[in-house]
Amino acid sequence: MARVMTPPKIFVVPGVLSLLCIAVWSLELADGFKLTDNAFYDRVARNRPGNGGQDSPILLLELPSGVAADPDALVQGLRTDGAGQVFLALADVDRPPAGAELLPVTLATQERGVFRRAVLKSDPEGKARLIDFFAAPPRIPRLSYDQLLRRELVAGALKERGVLVARSLPQQAPGLSTPLHDAGDQISLGEVQAYALVTAVRGSWIREIQPGMSLLLIMIAIGLGYFAERFTLAQVGLWILLVLCACLFLVAWIILSLSMILLPISAMIAAHSGAFFLLQQRRLRAEAELLRSTSFYVSQHLHQRSHPNELADPSQTAALLGQLVSLVLGPERYALWESDRAGAFKLIAASRKVGLSPAHLAEELTRSAESAPPIPSARVFDDASATEVTHVSRLIHAGEKVGLWALSFEQGATPGMPLLKAMAGEAARVIDANSPTPSDRVSPAHALNASMAEMELYVGGLENLFENLSVAAVMYDLYGRAVLVNNMFKALAARSNAIRWQEGPVHLLRTLTGLDDTQSRRFLRHAYIAEKPLRFAASVPAMEARTFVLTLSAVGKSGGRSHPDIVRPEGIAIELHDITGSSLNSASRETIVSRLATQLRNDLEAFSLGVEVLDDPDLAADEREEVALLLRDKTNSAAQLLLDVEHNLQRACVPGETLLRFPVDTKEAVARALTQIPREIRERIDFISPEFGPLAFAAPQELSETIGAALTFAANNCTARERVRLELIDEPANVEFQIVSPSSVLPEENLQKYLFGTTMILSSEFRDLRNGLQLVERWGGTASARFLTDSGLNLRLGLEKFL
């Protein structure tokens, strides 16, 4: 199967960015960004602090319209008052008088109605330059013509300053638009000319970037866009873009304000944004492609994992589906239809002849969504009986209606709805996987849906499996967080408060194995890195009577290279296996061997001494015959013993039986029971037994629990602090546990009803004992409980003797 490991090459990044750079630059050269650059300049001009104002080298004298002034006298007067250069911008003066000159600049053509540029008359190239407008009040200082006539000029006002003499506009005439004012707020021609003159005198023309430098700046902006997209997450990319644009804008503003250089800000932002969006588009397309590939991979992978190989053969699908339905649901009759995209149904499997057409069924099904009428079995299946109940359902996979099924069950035999739904889902999945146009190959969206459906089924199944494992298990991720804890582990933790799996694997390992933290960490690392399970003897606090084995193993590491974009859980699994039963059984086997050896030694003793007796020449003939007979019997009984042991061992554990029984040392079983019951009860037990506990058929741990339950029951149902007697009686064919509690007072009727009846009981004491008594009977033993007025409570548990 092809795995997509790297994003596809949708286009070559450097080439596209170069094209973008050339395009933006070309547009810049063709004044494509003039409008926005001018707007930027206007905005800066209106808001930056001017460098004109009081120290302006030029005063503006506007002659009122309609006033005829003599230029010679005017210039003479101004010069007399101390004016420096006098510039005339009067339309009716072609030749300047002595001491004055004509205005050295000419306003360039307005751009969209706004005057921004002027041309130096002395410039042979006639280049239109940007005037340095400054908005800070009081702008260009003015000289009033009336003041001049009345000779009321402030002393020194004209000193070292030039004067621009212009004519003011008639009152009704519109002014000129400049960067300084918004639309509708205009200034006079003289004032615009004064700005141009001040700029020329100061030489403070706004410098515009040369084409070569523009190209460089555009390239830098594209580079910024590339890095912004390359090193940020898609979710915040747009915000990063906006922040960088704002930064560019701010830098351009500062440079213009302080250095009088107008950067090609529009081209830069366009280049930066263009690069960002192009790259992001490429990334999105690559991710979409990757997602599609991943969903395809997951879908295929899961199909392989969860479908039998036979399902790859469409001809077998129907037969397998039929088997699946019959085996799991066990319907009386069934019919399965596959539906294509056009809605046509095709019968693929059926156990009986079907009466109603599938299209009709589907219609009824649609109607039933509203009124939910049952569809009679007889209408669906030709030969259905009146007692059958029909279940009709659409089969839906990944949101697609892929088929329809009808199942009939005898009344009362209908499986639960969860099982029906689960099987309908499974059948739909199989049909979909084998249809000519499976839904997961139609479009990426369907592929994703299908994959997710597969994933949910698969993961859900695994989780369910883990939850219900018969060993206690907890799985930690590499951060030490418990990501999965199964039911048995939770139950174990509920019984032992010391098991705090939430505190991480090191704590758990320390609690269960007694290792210190350093050792625990070392073993955890080893288990993960070496990927080899480690096993430790473990003990669960508060459950010391039980024996556990703890297994540490790595999770999610094996299986070779994984798809880089598929999340695989990695971590450590800790499993606790309760081997109490196994260890007890093993101990029982050792006991059997030991007892057998003892018995044979006992028999050998008879032979040894018997042979010596037979050698006695003084032995009477009848006695000799008697001894010989006895020894022959002894030989037979020893042989029989071996046969009995072999036979009993074969009977002990019968494969296939739901309840296993073993030869159990009854005295040891009592000893274990005594360690498992509360101390205050244990101290009140008088235990009488032979030196060697006979072996009997039972299960070691369960027998101890049963004895413990019986002792607890007897102790808790008698006068406080009264003693309870437990006697182990070794009989030829049986071993009996006799528990007597003389001071117990329990109505006989209740005793029988609750211990041997089927009445539901809430008392855990009664319940545990009842379960134990039932176990004794299932091991082939007998159980009885009596209340006698003279001897109190009398419990007898008899087990079949092994040896």
């Binding site: 003793e605 020894l631 070794d730 009989e731």
Partner: protein, 122 residues
């Protein structure tokens, strides 16, 4: 020296009872039989014996309980020789602590049995 000494033989195994009885007779002992500890206790309480030869594993009252009864309850000082097929070190220690004069593991050689009996009767 052992001639005429009266031995109480306690064993539940009929074959062992008879074989030991014949062997003891051959060795010059008088022998009285008991099939378990309870019977032996009654006999010991009622009569006079020079020694008791007792098996450990018996029904009703086993050899260990008989030994404890004899030493701790009845305060009887009659020498007691314990025969056991399960006389490992722990059992031997327990039995001796309970008051047995000697412990022999089955199968026992007749010579060892005779020596042990002679020793406890001294």
């Amino acid at each position: 020296m052992t001639s005429g000494k009266k031995i109480l033989l306690v064993d539940d195994d009929a074959v062992m009872q008879r074989v030991l009885q014949l062997w003891l007779r051959k060795a010059g002992f008088d022998c009285v039989l008991a099939e378990d500890g309870q019977v032996a206790a009654n006999l010991l309480h009622a009569g006079q014996f020079d020694a008791v030869l007792v098996d450990l594993m018996m029904p009703i009252m086993d050899g260990f309980r008989f030994l404890k009864w004899a030493r701790q309850e009845a305060r009887i000082s009659t020498p007691i020789l314990v025969l056991s097929a399960a006389a490992n070190a722990q059992v031997r220690q327990d039995v001796e602590a309970a008051g047995a004069n000697a412990v022999l593991s089955k199968p026992v050689q007749s010579r060892a049995l005779l020596e042990a009996l002679t020793r406890i009767l001294e």
